[in-house]
Structure formats: C-alpha cells, structure tokens
C-alpha cells in the first residue's frame, strides 16, 4: 500500500468519523429521551445507554390520565384548525397580494413581515386583553386565534411567492373560460399549489403543536390545555418529585405524529421550500 492510498483512506475515515460525531451529537438527546421513557422511575438516575429493565409502565401511566388524553385532543383540534384557517386566509391573501395590482401592495407585504418579527412576549399582554374581550379565555378558540396570528405572516409570504410564479396567462385563460376569482383559486391554483400548501401547512401545524407560552397563559383548567402545557404540568407522587419518565413518555407520544407527518410530506416540503429558488 502506497502512502498516497493510505492518506486517502485516512481522509475517508476522518470524514465518516466526523459524520458519526455530528449524528451522535444531534440524535443523542432524542435517543436518551426515548430511552428514559422506557425506564422505570427507580432506575432514572442510573446512567446507562440501554434500559436494563425496560417497561411500558410510564406509557400506561400517562394514558391512564384523562387530562392527558384531553390535552392530545385539544392539541389536535387547535393545530388542525390553525392549519385550516391559516391556509384558507393565506391562499386568498396570496391571491390578492400576488395577483391583484393595487396601491400599497408592497407596504402590506412589508407590514405582514414586520408583524411576524415581534417576539411572542411583546404581544402577550395585549393579546391577553383581546382574548378576554372576545370571551375566549380558557378556550381552544383563544389559542387558535393567537396561533393563527403568528402563523399567517409566514403562510402568506410563502404562498404569495409561490402564487407569483404561476403564469399570468393561466389565470387569464380561466377568466376567459368564465371563472370567478374564487373558482380560479379553488379549481386552477389550488391543485397547482399543493407542494407549497403542504409545506406551509405542516410548518404551521408543528408551530401550533409545540407552542407553549400562549397555551400556558390563555388556558386555566386541565380540560382546556394543550399537550406541551399538560406535559410541563405533569405531577409526580409528591410536590417534590418531577416525574421525568412519564414526561419523556408523553413527549415521545406527541412527537411521533409530527415525525410521521414529516415523513409523509417530506418530498413535498423540499419541492415547496425550493420552489422559489429556481424557475421550473
């Protein structure tokens, strides 16, 4: 073996070692969370890479709590509503912003972008008053409203960019065929915008599913909470015990749907996110 071949081999080994290192750093926390979820409470503080006495007791425990099941239901309700409303408003807004020429269009787009830059905390108290005034406190409606407000700017921007790429003549052809704007959107544009809709919809879903601050602030009772808050407020046997294992089990349970969704839509996400990059 010549020295040249050797150095080539070494470079290769070094490359894969680096890859392995990155993968371990990125994946280990998740792996440890999953591992913990299968560990009996007594073994929690024994550091080991593989649960020696695996158990499903933690899962059984969280699923036996009615409030956790209710929280999952609330999360599904809130997240799907947010996705649905955000896409509906986003697609109609993007038609207006991407297709209709009117004075102040650019300013509207910039304002939308600007609004999305505020940190959540900055609007928390104001939003709280709005939700109280609308009588939506401690109600999934309040969460749907607040999440939609924070999701819309992104949805509108992505969809507007995508809408602008659709050829103008397509819309004119639809007009010649006698289509109203609504028919043009639903029958002509929507079928062509699925990749963008899947991307923005999924990201909106994830954001709504994982949101914590608003969910904590705008709900009061167990029956109205969403999953992130429910997990954080899981209580152990005494006030001095943090039930780590059930918390991990609950986290795994609520993350699985997201992973499944991402896997289903992953090709669309990629094509949707790069849609603006190259013409085609």
């Amino acid at each position: 073996m010549t020295s040249r071949q050797l150095s080539k081999l070494a470079a290769r080994a070094g490359f894969w070692l680096l890859v392995a290192l990155i993968v371990v750093v990125a994946v280990f926390p998740f792996y440890y969370a999953i591992k913990t979820s299968f560990t009996p409470s007594g073994d929690l503080f024994r550091v080991e890479l593989w649960p020696t006495r695996a158990t499903l007791a933690n899962y059984a425990q969280i699923f036996s709590q009615r409030s956790f099941l209710q929280a999952i239901f609330n999360s599904i309700l809130v997240a799907t509503s947010v996705v649905f409303i955000a896409l509906l408003l986003g697609i109609t807004a993007s038609y207006a912003l991407g297709r209709v020429r009117f004075r102040g269009r650019t300013s509207v787009l910039l304002i939308i972008l600007g609004v999305s830059m505020f940190p959540q905390v900055a609007v928390l108290s104001g939003l709280f008053e709005v939700i109280r005034a609308l009588n939506l406190y401690n109600n999934p409606g309040g969460l749907i409203l607040s999440y939609t407000i924070f999701t819309l700017p992104f949805t509108v921007w992505v969809l507007t960019t995508f809408m602008r790429q659709l050829p103008l003549e397509l819309e004119e052809a639809a007009i010649m065929d006698g289509a109203t704007p609504w028919v043009t959107i639903t029958k002509v544009f929507l079928p062509l915008m699925w990749p963008a809709m899947a991307t923005t919809g999924l990201l909106a879903f994830i954001a709504a599913w994982n949101e914590f601050l608003f969910a904590l602030t705008f709900t009061l009772t167990d029956s109205q909470r969403t999953v992130p808050v429910a997990i954080a407020l899981l209580s152990g046997g005494s006030a001095y015990e943090l039930p780590w294992a059930p918390i991990m089990a609950a986290s795994v349970v609520v993350t699985v749907p997201l992973v499944v969704l991402v896997i289903i839509f992953q090709r669309r996400i990629v094509s949707g996110l790069t849609a603006g990059a190259v013409k085609g």
């Binding site: 050829p167 003549e169 052809a173 010649m176 065929d177 006698g178 028919v183 079928p191």
Partner: protein
C-alpha cells in the same frame, strides 16, 4: 359568429397612451390579423376585445351589442394564448370541458361539444392525457379546442405560433387556415410575423405606435401601402427606399429625380407638393432591374446571396446606410464589385411625402 366594431377605442396605462383612437370594423366570419412591431399595441387591442383589459375611452360592440362593461364570459369570445396556458393538472378532456362546466351546461351537451371539438382538431386519441405528455403542436391544438368548445362568437389568437419551431409553425398555420374555412367563425389573430399575416388574413390591420396605419387585404397592403411604414413592414426582403426630389407635376403625374437614377415619369398625383419637395421613393426588390454600368456611374454590388430559387443582390446606397436589395432569378451572372445602374418599373414605384404618407396614383393610370 358575430361582427366586431371598434369606435374610437383608447387605452391608457398610467401615463402611457397605448391605443389611440382605433376605429375598425370586423365583419362576420372574417379572419382579421393585427400585425405590427413589438410594442405597437396589437396584443393590448386583442385583450381589449377579449375583456382582459378595460377600455379607457371609446365603444366596442360585438354584433350590435355594446360590450365595454361586460366581463369576458358574457362577451362570447374564446382566446388562444401564446403560451397555451393549459391547466396542467387537468386532462385534455377536462381542459376543454372546464369552460362549459362553469357555464352550467348539461352534462350530455358538455360531452357532445368536447367530442365534436376533439374530432375537428384530431384530439380524440389524446383526451385522457395531461398537457405535459403532449407535444408542442398538440398543446397548441388543445388550446384552440379549449377556446372553441364553448362555441364562442369570436375566436381570438394571441401570437399562437410563436412558441413552435419553424416547420411546425407552417403546418399549424395551414391547420388554422383550414379551421377557419371549416368553422366560418370570426377570428382575430395577433402576430408580429408578416408571413403569418399575409397567408392567413382576409384583412390585415397594421398597427404602429397604437394607431392603425392601414387596413386592407394582403394584396392591397402589398401593392398599395398607404404609408412608408406599411411599405417597409410588409414584404420580405423589405422595400428599398431612396431619397428623391419632385421635379415637376402635371395632369398625368409627376417627374422625379433621385441620386443614381435617371429621371422618372411616374403616375402619382403630386399636385399638392411644391417643386423640389423632398420625397421618398420606394421600390420592392423584385421590381428593380439591373444593367451593367459604364465607368464609375451607378451602384456597386457589395454582396450576392444565392438562395437556390432566387438571388438577392445587395447594392451600396448613395445616401444612408441601408443596402439596396434586388431580387432576381437564379442563377445569376452578377458578381461582387461590379457596378450597375437601376431601372425601376414605374408601375411599381411608390412615392411617400415627408410625413410618410403615400402619394395616390392618378385615377386614369391607376393599376386596375
């Protein structure tokens, strides 16, 4: 089938005046072609008729109905777009049926009309395909089918062949001509290609800078262009223009002098112009005859192009930069560097005044 009447149509976009006082009458069943250089407003004019743009001023009627305020679907017009603009997610059948379904046509009628249209355009085999599985020519036919399926009163074409390659363009041009004979419907066609205009049109409308330069049959436009612009735009290779002076006018016509040419007696009526007035003499390449010059007189041949069936001879002009072109039969004995004199055929000489308007031929000697 319907007539279209444009009465003092104007279109203003912001501060640009795109269409200026266009008057035009399109008869029932006529094939009218709008032609002109890019930016002349021909597409805008078509879109005004379609209803895709609003008319700033003037009156547009289809049949005897004023349609200024009607949306496209109520005007009874169908349009074929330059990029076809087929709905990519629908099959050929669905593309053609879309407009009919939106018009709430009965299901059987939709099927009947789509099948009838598909038969005319030979699309029956392709009805279940999506646009991306079609060739350029097939897409073009589907685009026409979609416009035709609703049986519009007028069919509009916006540069429909410009995306096709040359041989397919000739083929589709023929198909469109045959389609017009078969359907007999009123068609308005926009192109920048004067060959398409000449071959397809019953009536050509030449537009320039938002104004109508001339309206007429292909023969009229070719033989009696009303302006220097039309003369230069129609015909390939283009008409030769030479600066000329009016030497005198009388009852039968006028006498013209131009550098490099002998004095010409022409049938044009120049009575409105002063003696010595600057005119432009126009002559088509095929109406020039060359004869060998003596010594240094005449024009020098700078290039000879052999095209198989004919020969273009390029001459160095006395004034200006545009080469003069003579079109003759092949083969030829003319060689680069030879000097020749020109003998224009007076019957085919055009005269234009300083404003570019053609001088009319005196009735007695007018070409029949």
């Amino acid at each position: 089938m319907a007539s279209v009447t444009l009465d003092k149509i104007n279109k203003v976009f912001g501060s640009t005046h795109i269409i200026k006082d266009v008057d035009l009458a399109i008869g029932e069943g006529e094939f009218v072609v709008f032609v002109g250089p890019s930016g002349c407003g021909k597409s805008t004019l078509l879109r005004l008729i379609a209803g895709l743009e609003s008319i700033t001023d003037g009156e547009l009627s289809i049949g005897d109905q004023v349609v200024n305020e009607l949306p496209p679907r109520e005007r009874g017009v169908g349009m074929v777009f330059q990029s076809y603009a087929l709905y990519p997610h629908m099959t050929v059948y669905e593309n053609m049926a879309f407009g009919l379904k939106l018009a709430k046509t009965a299901k059987e009628t939709v099927h009947e009309r789509v099948m009838a249209t598909a038969r005319i355009l030979q699309l029956e085999e392709l009805l279940e395909r999506k646009p991306k599985a079609l060739s350029g020519g097939q897409r073009q036919r589907v685009a026409m089918g979609r416009a035709m399926a609703r049986e519009p009163r007028i069919l509009l074409f916006d540069e429909p062949l410009s995306n096709l390659d040359a041989s397919l363009r000739v083929q589709m041009r023929n198909e469109i001509a045959r389609l017009h004979k078969r359907l007999g419907s009123t068609m308005v066609y926009v192109t920048h290609d004067q060959v398409e205009a000449m071959t397809l049109a019953d009536k050509i409308v030449v537009l320039n800078g938002g104004r109508v330069e001339q309206v007429g049959s292909p023969q009229e436009l070719y033989q009696r262009p009303a302006t220097k612009f039309v003369a230069g735009f129609i015909g390939s290779p283009t008409m030769n223009f030479l600066p000329a002076r009016l030497l005198g006018a009388d009852a039968t016509g006028c006498r013209i002098g131009a550098t490099g040419l002998t004095e010409l007696a022409l049938p044009q009526d120049a009575s409105g112009h002063a003696q010595g007035a600057a005119l432009t003499l126009g002559i088509r390449p095929e109406h020039l005859r060359l004869s060998e010059a003596q010594g240094s007189e005449g024009f020098e041949i700078v290039n000879v192009e052999y095209l198989g069936n004919e020969v273009y001879v390029y001459l160095e002009p006395k004034e200006g930069e545009t080469l003069l072109i003579q079109r003759g039969e092949a083969p030829t004995t003319w060689r680069v560097g030879q000097r020749v004199t020109l003998a224009p055929d007076p019957e085919h000489v055009h005269l234009f005044d300083a404003g570019g308007r053609a001088l009319s031929v005196k009735a007695a000697r007018a070409v029949a």
